[in-house]
Symmetry: C2
Subunit: 173 residues, 2 copies
Amino acid sequence: MNFFEIIEKRYSHKGRFLSTPVPREKLVQIASAGLSAPTGMNLQCVKLVILPDRQAVQPLCDIAPTEGTLTAPAAIVVFTDKTTQNWKMDFQIEDYSAATENMLLAATALGYVALWLDSPYFPADKQKALCDLLNAPANYQLRTVIPIGLPDGECLKREKMPFDERVWFGEFS
Amino acid sequence: MNFFEIIEKRYSHKGRFLSTPVPREKLVQIASAGLSAPTGMNLQCVKLVILPDRQAVQPLCDIAPTEGTLTAPAAIVVFTDKTTQNWKMDFQIEDYSAATENMLLAATALGYVALWLDSPYFPADKQKALCDLLNAPANYQLRTVIPIGLPDGECLKREKMPFDERVWFGEFS
């Protein structure tokens, strides 16, 4: 697949995963792609925890009992370090979003499917419990959970609005 | 270049651009990659204005007089529609960040360089003037300006922290 095929193929896999493990070196490759994303003021506030097997993924079911977390053979949990800022500005949401998108594309490039499960959906007490379980420093904020693996069956890509309703040339008209 | 080479090659081009135009179809391809990014609750709040030539890019110098805006032969301006939300949740920053990252990667894949110039750096009155000039609806928020083109000279990629300082297996340790 070339780059634009990967961009086009990536979708949010909301279905089940096969139990086939994701080799550790593939997870490292996906995480590395995340770290290569742009980061405001080069502060690199994004921190990742790789959950490399089913047992490690299991606790994610507590915060988000979805088909993905219930079956995925691997996942990456995305945090940001809340203390990284300059001149009272920070770009934590921008940074973890760019890193997450890189990881979703990297997973797609390697033949896997993945899902961006964002923390506003998780109950606060469950987030706290997961952070404790993963031994997260107090200044690290849980941002996103990304189940990764091979799909167990088809999952429809959601429809996008037409190009002309989202892009203009020169000015809005 | 394969996908991981593109991920590795992308960098924030803070230098000057050559005047060589970026063909319209390439700008469409880059914008389309942006629209293919994931979007919270499929709300697709990201809207783009393509500035396809030097004359169209010139007004960006008012909000951000950088080497990039002063010389780039093309740019894409990223907005989000502030009214798109469900259940009082929105993912506007996440959405425009993922879309922006897709566009930076797409520009790289096509042999161009680009830069993510984020709106918190722009003076508020200048932002308003640019929105007016581009005829932006009142509910559209200016988010990012992306100058695009061929580089005029080398520009160093900034260093990243080592993998082991940003990624853990199983839990933080």
